[in-house]
């Protein structure tokens, strides 16, 4: 069985935000405008969560990039009344924009605040015309969206592999955020395939998952930040 997962090395992450921007472009994430963003309605799928430890001047800052964790026991899919969010057999948690009724129950149930709601009809300016990604569905107002691990890339990669008559390789399917990371902090692959780097990385002594005690079984691992 394939089980797509991600490992993010917090030692390497500088919090530059390249992944956030790459994700916006890749997934046609609408710009909500400054006023709406101030109200806390930005739609970014990838968010950088910053954790501060200690008192000034002795502060330790950790930047934690947070996509959807694609939990293996997702609390969000259990509560959806209409099968609009579900766990597929490759471990990806999908979101069906055309079926979602916008009850936002899944947002309330996700412990990681990974889901976003379209409060208005998304407005994609004319100037975006050329750079819009045709592979990603545009969302409509009143539905919930979230990181999909760039699922559209997986479909393409599979088609390509089939066309070339070979197995899917690790480098065939990489989400946009992983590709864009200048510090090389993210690794992506199949957690159950020993050829993929992630499969060994998650056994590192530094590996951990956020709020593991909830039993949600996230498939995004972090490598602990260590003082050098």
């Amino acid at each position: 069985m394939t089980k797509w997962g991600m490992v993010i090395d917090l030692n390497k992450c500088t919090g530059c935000g390249a992944c956030v921007n790459a994700c916006r472009i890749e997934n046609n994430i609408p710009n909500v405008g400054e006023e709406e963003a101030q109200k806390g309605r930005a739609l970014d799928w990838m968010q950088i969560v910053t954790e501060y430890e200690g008192e000034y001047p002795d502060v330790r800052v950790t930047h934690i990039p947070r996509p959807c964790f694609q939990c293996d026991n997702p609390p969000c899919t259990k509560v959806c009344p209409v099968h609009a969010t579900f766990l597929n057999e490759e471990g990806l948690v999908g979101q069906v924009y055309y079926r979602c009724i916008g009850c936002r129950f899944c947002m309330a149930a996700c412990p990681y605040s990974a889901k976003k709601f379209n409060y208005f009809e998304p407005d994609i300016p004319e100037s975006y015309e050329g750079i819009r990604n045709p592979d990603v569905t545009r969302r409509m107002k009143g539905v919930v969206e979230k990181c999909s691990f760039c699922h559209h890339r997986l479909s393409l990669a599979k088609d390509l592999a089939r066309f070339e008559n070979r197995e899917l390789r690790e480098e065939d399917f990489q989400p946009a955020c992983v590709e864009s990371c200048p510090a090389d902090a993210m690794t992506f692959g199949d957690l159950e395939n020993p050829d993929h780097r992630v499969a060994t990385l998650i056994h590192s002594s530094r590996a951990f998952r956020l709020d593991e005690e909830l039993g949600t079984d996230p498939k995004v691992y972090y490598l602990k930040k260590e003082d050098k």
């Binding site: 968010q47 947070r66 099968h83 936002r104 129950f105 412990p111 379209n118 208005f120 107002k141 909830l214």
Partner: protein, 446 residues
């Protein structure tokens, strides 16, 4: 008509036969509020939920609060009336009808709130085509529709004899009354049918009512959110529901007693008895709140503590302490002293409980959402004009429908009052004698 005027219970027919100017003013005002709310809702339909004050973390606001609140209020009615009927409390006679009407109307309004809250109300039928019964939201849909059916039937069946009375003695709405009374004239056999149906209904309605609010609490407690994930929520919500419902019933009774001059039917003693129920539930509510927070504080789990601190001393502290004051301190003080336990005092206590219970729903829903597990930025939730308007619209719709109901059907069960006069006294005497120890047995022994 003149025969009716001589009826000792003419007061009960009067609201149906005559309407004064106050009634039209009230309907006009309430109707305007409702229309305004509808306009605001249409605006929300056009622009999307962005017109509310909700944001990324606080995704549920006024609509869900009001949903829980209204469904809570609807609880008192049918439950109280069923329990009073089952326990054969004779003082129930003038109360049950109003209680049942409150239930049916508030339930209809409350049940609309989740739909108002939807981002895509146009797809609401997906719940029927692609529903998942695993989702607590579907439990709500089934439980509420079940409760609505049950409470409407439970309102309607005891109404039949009254409809028959109206059909025979008045000239208004003749067709409607003939339709709805099914040819009831009060023969022995017909009475027997009604009694059988009612005794089954009473037993069915109580567990259904309890299950509804339990299921509503499950929306919250089935998630892993701190402050929500609690086993106590089912009974806690049910208690709160009956608490707010009793208060609403008292307010409605006091108000319509004045409005329709029902002083002869709703006597001080009825309020005294019902306010005992209010007092008991205030104490129960205090007990549940105490245990809910004590376990959280004692466990001292960091996430749980963050939410609790947010309520105790953070941004929601004013609301929290206000809630404690309104829900516990004020009603307990008023209802514990005989001197204050008069109708004005009871009115104050009931109002304070209604507002307090609304605050309780706010305190349960928003703080948990404003404190997400990960330190993502969470903006404060400030309800917009749309949300306030729809809230006002909901309350106005309730008052309006209640008023309209009172113009078509009697607010106090006429036949039950007449029965009480005719048979109640005898029945109670017999019943009382059957409880008492037999005197002649003791006499024989001596």
């Amino acid at each position: 008509m003149d025969a009716l005027r001589k009826d000792p219970d003419y007061t009960l027919y009067r609201p149906i036969l005559e309407s004064d100017r106050r009634f039209y003013w009230a309907i006009g005002f309430l109707g305007a509020v409702v229309v305004w709310a509808i306009v605001m809702y249409i605006r929300q339909l056009v622009y999307g939920l962005g017109v509310t004050g909700l944001n990324r973390t606080v995704t549920w606001g006024f609509y869900i609060i009001n949903f829980v609140f209204f469904i809570g209020v609807s609880h008192a009615g049918t439950l109280i009336s069923a329990i009073l009927r089952l326990s054969q409390a004779e003082w129930r006679r003038p109360i049950t009808r109003m209680a049942e009407v409150i239930t049916a109307i508030v339930l209809a309004i409350g049940g609309l709130h989740p739909i108002i809250d939807l981002g895509r109300p146009d797809r609401v039928l997906n719940v029927f085509f692609y529903g998942r019964l695993q989702s607590p939201l579907l439990w709500d849909v089934t439980a509420i529709s079940l409760y609505f059916t049950a409470s409407t039937v439970y309102l309607y069946v005891p109404l039949i004899p009254d409809i028959a009375l109206l059909r025979d003695h008045t000239t208004k709405f003749k067709k409607l009354y003939t339709w709805l009374s099914w040819g009831y004239v009060g023969t022995e056999r017909q009475k027997h049918v009604l009694e059988r149906a009612m005794s089954i209904l009473m037993v069915v309605v109580i567990p259904v009512a309890v299950s509804v609010h339990t299921v509503i609490s499950y929306i919250f407690s089935m998630t892993l959110q701190s402050g929500w994930h609690s086993t106590i929520f089912g009974p806690y919500f049910v208690t709160g529901a009956i608490f707010s419902g009793t208060a609403t019933l008292l307010v409605v009774m006091i108000f319509f007693r004045k409005f329709y001059h029902l002083e002869n039917y709703l006597k001080e003693i009825h309020f005294q008895y019902l306010s005992v129920l209010l007092l008991v539930f205030a104490l129960l509510w205090g007990y549940f709140t105490f245990s809910e927070f004590l376990t959280g504080i004692y466990g001292n789990e960091p996430m749980e503590m963050r939410v609790i601190q947010f309520k105790f001393s953070g941004a929601y502290a004013p609301f929290f302490w206000m809630m404690v004051l309104l829900n516990f301190v004020i009603p307990v003080i008023i209802l514990a002293f005989k001197k204050l336990k008069k109708i004005p005092g009871i009115l104050v206590a009931s109002f304070s409980v209604i507002i307090g219970m609304w605050l309780e729903r706010l305190i349960i829903i928003v703080p948990s959402l404003s404190n997400p597990r990960l330190p993502v930025v969470s903006e404060p939730y400030i309800p917009s004009l749309t949300e306030w308007s729809l809230f006002a619209g909901g309350v106005a719709a309730f008052c309006m429908m209640f008023l309209l109901f009172s113009k078509v059907f009697p607010l106090i069960s006429i036949w039950e009052i007449k029965d009480g006069r005719a048979e109640g006294l005898e029945a109670v005497k017999e019943r009382l004698e059957s409880y008492l120890p037999d005197t002649d047995v003791a006499g024989e022994g001596a």
